[in-house]
Amino acid sequence: MADATDYTTDDLMCTCISRQVQDGEVLAQGIATPLVAAGYLLAKHTHAPYVTFASAIGNVICQKTAPLGLTRVEELWLGQALCFLGFAQVVCDLLPTMTPKEFFRPAQVDPFGNFNNVAIGDYYHPRLRLPGCGGIADVTGFSPVVYLYVPSHSRAVFVEKLDFVSGLGVPTADRPGRRPGPRLLISDLGVFDYACGRMRLRSYHRGVTVEKIRQKTGFALEVDPDAHETPPPTVEEIRLLREVIDPLGIRELERMSGAQRRPRMRELVRQEKSREYREGWK
């Protein structure tokens, strides 16, 4: 299949996520993570037709797919459910032993892949209180298949020292254990691993230099001697993303600033209400 030349950073991130999916495995999807949902669906439509989705939205297990939605996102999951679960059942009975693959989005991440989704600044006097860590502190201590993704790579996200540790990276003297830590981190600038015990650049995206990644990372960056440009999406992957998986472009919301997002969301709400669109994907 021919490589695409016309693709966005969002498309490339979805493709990188898709390529981490193996056929037959169980994939967990958190809330408000459309880049991950699009990446999973891309895998399902290409090399991994037999994956199973465990979605937080709906609390369901699904094997079928529907396009991404904003106000109609439940239809993607509830409308296709194989079975309905209670959240306590998922948390207590399934996650500790089933350990689905999951991509988490840190608000802050340190060189070891520890991460923070609780508060920026001192916990008791924060500069910004974040929504909370969901189930991240529950599973990252033992899951063998933790992945991270960062839609906007910056020194505010990649910090030497975290304000709060709610997600665990590779074992260190401070935070020992037998977990492997995050397998990869995918950002809008490149793909990184933790194979040497610290974050290490594996590939840089088209048009991004190693120097730029160093500038945008708030700690010393390791670079794999074999670091190379991230392989581009194929023409078919781009077609699937744009025509089948996410025709509205909901995956683009994660990289937008607040000022860009709100007018775009108004427009998405309007498009989803339009009859033509709804009939188009029924």
């Binding site: 439940e74 509830l78 959240f87 500790p96 969901g134 529950d138 665990l168 709100r262 969301m265 989803e272």
Partner: protein, 261 residues
């Protein structure tokens, strides 16, 4: 037996200072009409407990009715941060009992099992125990391993919105079950609001009526959150809310919301 109440009768079960559990999750099947009716009373000083908190909880926090929060996520999902929670929590105006999915789920299960705690692999190695000194470790008597011992949770009143209910409180929830079944089983008072209340529902259902203490018919009772499959999210209203809060006009938004029928 007939558990049907008016919405005002139902919210009168909530007393100032009590622990209120809210059903549904994020922006799905939230008891918004119940919260609106509660905001018309002078009940305050609440401990709010929910798997996730969204629009309905942001109204309560914005109105200054919440003293303490117990949730693992407070936000508006794809729509962004919950504006009043973010503002008040950043300013230290609301007490947060840091929770995760596991502390809430195992805590409710401990109560249901009639024991003081449930052991779990969660939190070990993270900073969560530092901000929750009340959560202790327990040693597995068989392997000697240490686990987190999540304490049993208590809920005074649970409010759950359902697609359908009958006069005995049996209810159809469909998806996004969240912690609804556990909340209903542990709470002293369980109020089910429903799009429609019928004489008698037939199963299988997600929520048997025996723990339910009050049933209220409230069409569109989850709006602007969704009630699948009857209606989806009202994205425009969520954006209106965010815009109003960004402009510093939460009070005006709330005033208008409470004055409309």
């Amino acid at each position: 037996m007939n558990k049907v109440l008016s919405l005002d009768q139902a919210v009168s079960r909530v007393r100032s200072g009590c622990t209120l559990g809210l059903g549904g999750m994020t922006l799905y099947r939230r008891p918004v009409a119940f919260v609106r009716a509660l905001l018309r009373t002078d009940v305050t000083d609440l401990t709010l407990l929910a798997l996730t908190c969204g629009y309905e909880s942001d109204l309560l926090v914005g109105a200054g009715r919440v003293r303490r929060l117990r949730t693992c996520y407070f936000g508006l999902e794809g729509f962004g941060l919950a504006p009043m929670f973010t503002q008040r929590a950043t300013a230290g105006e609301v007490e947060i009992v840091e929770e995760t999915e596991a502390s809430l789920a195992f805590g409710l299960r401990a109560r249901l099992a009639g024991v003081g705690f449930m052991p779990s692999l969660a939190w070990l190695g993270t900073d969560l125990p530092k901000v929750r000194p009340d959560v202790k470790l327990v040693t597995d008597p068989y392997s000697g391993r240490e686990y987190t011992a999540f304490p049993a949770l208590h809920v005074d009143v649970a409010a759950i919105h359902a697609l359908e209910a009958d006069r005995l409180g049996n209810a159809r929830l469909i998806g996004n079950l969240g912690l609804d079944q556990e909340l209903a089983a542990v709470a002293d008072q369980v109020i089910v609001t429903a799009e429609r209340v019928v004489e008698e529902l037939s199963g299988p259902l997600e929520l048997p009526g025996f723990p339910v203490t009050g049933v209220v018919e409230v069409p569109h009772g989850a709006r602007p959150t969704s009630c699948y499959p009857d209606y989806g999210l009202d994205g425009d209203e969520l954006l209106n809310y965010i815009d109003a809060c960004s402009a510093g006009e939460f009070d005006a938004y709330l005033g208008q919301l409470l004055s409309s029928p």
